[in-house]
Amino acid sequence: MSTWIRVARYQLTALPGYLGLVLSWVLVFLASLVRAAASAPPRPGEAIHYFVSIICVFFLLAGAQGPARQLPFALALGVSRRSFYAGTALFAGAIAAVAALGVTVLQLIERATGGWGLNLHYFRVPYLLAGPWYLTWLTSFAGLTLMLAWGMWFATIYRRWNLPGLLAFIAAQALALLAIYWAHHWHGWLVSFVVGTLTIGGLTGLLAALALALLAGGYATMRRITV
């Protein structure tokens, strides 16, 4: 266990490298607020959800950085693949928890200020992030962990099988998406199942299960990686 924590600590050293991106996100967000305030008249109830999407994409890319950049040196230091992956997953979970807390706090502020005084919805995403604060945190945490785990699996696939493996992995996912689209198009079950049947708590559970499945896939790939 202590090696996992040491690996997580090692991953933490890369964190300052992302501060520039985080700062850029904050600046764009503030600029968006200023622009919204300056536009006359403000559009009440306007939903600007791409800021949450940007966080998701950012986490996907950050997840891909761990195995890609940090692995060779970790192995040189006698860290096993298993410990490296477990420590990296631990770090990813911690980062996702903190970021989810940030989204929750921003949503609380947004609610408390009536949408930043302009009735704007940055962090209140219908259905997905519309419940009480603890559910917002839990859903965000599960979603962001999922993105990190996805990114980690991308990186491990690339490390193990290079470009052909990566392309095959992307193709497999595209096929899976096509199959889901086909099922939805012909049977229309997906939206009715998700929105009609699945509660937000259930969806959070689904995201968490998916994240765990992706982590398991990444670990299985990691076991035979060579550097």
Binding site: T3, R6, R9, Y10, T13, G78, V79
Partner: protein, 303 residues
């Protein structure tokens, strides 16, 4: 005693190409061994497998009695610094500090002294360092870790002679105080020869020599002088090589020479010079058949 590193029938194939072919040897704990051979001999592949970075196609490797590919406890007692070691995008100070977290015997004092001695700029990012300075970072980490099994693969690429000598001196000094098993791959054989207690030579993936360095020293001698005198002296002895220029001849005689031989050589006005380790390794790995030097008898493994 459990060998520090035990390799048995180790084979590694890459899409039809044989990088290692049935390599077998043991290294006892507490020794500095030179891993020598030409480019493409399989040195790096061997080190990568021993470190658990690569997997064998056949054969077994154990380090301190366990498989490095499976046993975490063994991995924690190893460090492997490569010539092309990749580092995270961090400053020198951060990289060294991060490495210290993984080794219980890490010496901050030694790390600090080595950083100063190599003149490494601690605040600069490793990726912005010159090749030699990056090598020095690897040496600092490899020595300060004081890992039970330390593997160096051409650790001083790009380093100037002064820094290389510093590496040899510091390695010997620290090894004397904290003995461990060091396996060092290098092409600068004569420069590092003084370090080695044992020599392992690979040629085209095969082990051609595995012997104590002391047995190898004096295993062959260059005899030079007048043709007639050289011919008299070398008669009945195994001669590896012979060259003649006008009335002078130079021949390499295999086997150790005793006092009587030396006295006879002096009487014949012959000049004797023992072959250096590098010359012997060239003989072992450089000849078409890669035959090992005949004077080196200990645990010799023919190709």
């Amino acid at each position: 005693m459990t060998p520090a590193i035990s390799v048995a029938g180790l084979t590694r194939r890459y899409r039809g190409q044989l990088a290692l072919d049935q390599v077998t040897f043991n290294l006892e704990p507490g020794s500095i061994t030179g891993l020598l051979g030409r480019n493409g001999a399989g040195k790096t592949t061997l080190l990568r497998i021993v470190a658990g970075h690569e997997f064998a196609s056949a054969g077994t490797v154990t380090v301190l009695g366990a498989s490095p590919a499976r046993d975490e406890a063994v991995l924690r007692q190893m460090i492997f610094i490569r010539e092309d070691q990749a580092y995270p995008d961090l400053r020198v100070r951060q990289v060294v500090r991060a490495a210290s977290w993984f080794y219980p015997n890490w010496s901050h004092e030694l790390a600090g002294a080595l950083l100063d001695a190599f003149g490494l700029p601690c605040g600069r990012k490793v990726r912005n360092l010159s090749r030699g300075m990056r090598s020095a970072v690897g040496i600092v980490i490899g020595l300060a870790a004081r890992a039970e099994v330390t593997l160096f693969d051409e650790p001083y690429a790009g380093l100037d002679p002064v820094s290389r000598q510093l590496f040899y001196d510091r390695l010997l000094a620290d090894y004397a105080e904290y003995p461990r098993t060091v396996l060092l791959s290098t092409h600068l054989i004569d420069e590092a020869a003084g370090l080695f207690e044992r020599v392992v030579v690979l040629h085209r993936g095969r082990l051609v020599l595995n012997t104590a360095a002391d047995d190898l020293r004096g295993a062959a001698t260059s005899v030079s002088g007048p043709v007639i005198a050289v011919e008299q002296f070398t008669a009945g002895r195994p001669v590896w090589d012979s060259r003649r220029v006008a009335s002078q001849q130079s021949a390499v005689v295999a086997g150790a020479l005793d006092e009587t031989d030396r006295a006879r050589a002096a009487a014949l006005h012959l000049h004797l010079e023992p072959l250096t380790l590098q010359q012997l390794v060239v003989r072992a790995a450089g000849t078409p058949a890669a035959s090992p030097p005949e004077g080196a008898s200990a645990e010799r493994t023919s190709a």
